[in-house]
């Protein structure tokens, strides 16, 4: 069970919002890079976010660049899962590869600051603040197996490849 607060964002939050290209020189210095997480969407996010919190977004979250540093800094910030109506495909794949759950669901009824409980096993999200409950779409099998191992590298180290 994952628990934390919701940080609410709108539609079309790009990887440039999440970690702008102007910080490309910090990509080999991840602790410094992570200080700028979500900077162009919410300048105060890095200071406010706590271990276990959730990013809750509208549609097409993570569009744009293939930079894996986007889900990486989100994970480093302590975010336990990204909830969105839809996500861009490279961001989706990158997040799972890093062991960061991305859950597709109707996020309209979740408000900024709500306390959430997410049950990855049963596929349910409970908004404790407003009492509502919703379900998220099933993660494709191959991605679930990668997520279960904690990411792509642990998956490959255990299984040796994709045939299983």
């Amino acid at each position: 069970m994952l628990t934390g607060r919701a940080f609410k964002f709108g539609d079309n939050i790009s990887t440039d919002h999440i970690i702008p290209g102007r910080f490309a020189h910090l990509r080999s210095n991840l602790p410094e890079l992570a200080k700028h997480v979500m900077e162009d969407a919410d300048l105060s996010f890095a200071a406010k976010v706590k271990l276990g919190d959730f990013i809750v977004a509208g549609s097409n979250f993570g569009l744009g660049s293939s930079r894996e540093h986007a889900p990486l800094v989100i994970k480093m910030a302590g975010v336990s899962a990204v909830l969105a109506k839809s996500v861009a495909r490279i961001f989706f794949r990158n997040s799972i590869n890093l062991g960061l759950p991305v859950l597709l669901c109707d996020t309209d009824n979740i408000n900024d600051g709500d306390n959430l409980e997410v049950d990855l096993e049963s596929g349910t999200i409970r908004d404790i603040t407003n009492g509502s409950q919703l379900t998220f779409a099933k993660i494709p099998d191959i991605m679930l197996r990668i997520l279960d191992e904690g990411g792509l590298l642990p998956y490959i180290q255990k299984h040796g490849g994709f045939k299983s």
């Binding site: 102007r22 490309a24 990509r27 744009g64 495909r89 494709p140 590298l153």
Partner: protein, 417 residues
Amino acid sequence: MGKTLAEKILSVKSGSEAKSGAIVVAKVDLAFVQDTTGSLTVRQFQAAGFKHVANHIKAALFLDHAAPSSNRELSNDHILLRSFAQQTDSFISDVGDGICHQVVAESLAKPGDLIVGADSHTVTAGGLGAFACGMGSTDIAVVLSLGETWFRVPESIKVVVTGNFPPGVYAKDLALHLIGQIGANGATYKALEFSGDTISNMSIPQRLTVANMAVEAGAKVGLFPADETTRDYLLTQGRSDHYQPLFPDDDATYEQIINISAAKLEPTVAKPHTVDNITLARELKGTKIQQVFIGTCTNGRLEDLAVVAKILKGKKRHPQTRVVVAPASRKVVLAAVNAGYIQTLLEAGAIILPPGCGACLGLHQGVLGNGESCLSTANRNFKGRMGNSEAFIYLASPATAAATAIRGEITDPREVI
């Protein structure tokens, strides 16, 4: 049942019947990284204990995003990538050689190839009939070692374009129009497959422009058939042996068919801050522009510079508008010098940058000031994209960019040609 281009290529590369919706494991022909994604790939490759690049795969590293490097951190990343290329005997394209997607098109991509790159605009090679898609650094690290990865075979949207472009209208206008029509997530997880007589008559540089923008509609790939135009292009690149014809089957299944009449298109512009925020250039008359940027993997090719040079010949840039030009590769620069385009651009008041991506992603060279507006031939206008979240980016064709450079405000190129 017939196959789409995506299904055909993934069937061959996976050795299975790859129908849309299926998950397949497929052999990759070319895997590449660039200098802002590659250091993470190298570190993940090493962290996993991988030693060698798979035998059958072509591995390539491109130093293009900071070219030449703007600071010591990126210079150190360059050292890491050069060293990895040497250790693994991989292809390296060093600073000044060009933008990865342009060099891939010129020198590496073949019709029917399966290509993955740690850069979202890897889709560009779809213009040559390659199934080319962007992935993250860790995915590429694994591909380099295993030589294969998993794919969900995408459903395809067929985009049928017919008729001739009117004067002043180009492939970029088509791409922007399409994204405006279907939205920035209108093709998420899907393949865009292009056909119709307009597509058959399009040059490879124009096809690369449209394929490049496929990801801006969320698409996994933007695929063009490989035809005689493809063959002629490969021949001019000294790669005639890389040609094979490639067409979808007549009875292939498409999720959706979109028809576009090229004759009805007009010079089109994406307004800040999303690529699907589309309007016509003429609707933006009076919008002051402080910087025009011409270049990138979308529109930094010789054909693009030819269009710009023709419009700027004997003219001067507007005194309040900087004009920054970054040709897409060393080959493009050389050809543009020989054709006289570079001289024309310099005489018109333009700044010529080395081939690279720096200005487009706000890394260096051409970073915007607070409140400034840029009209760019690139593919993205996200908030903060060109290095400043207080700036505004409009996307358009090279012709619209050239017309805007003269007038200092967004200008329909039909007013100046």
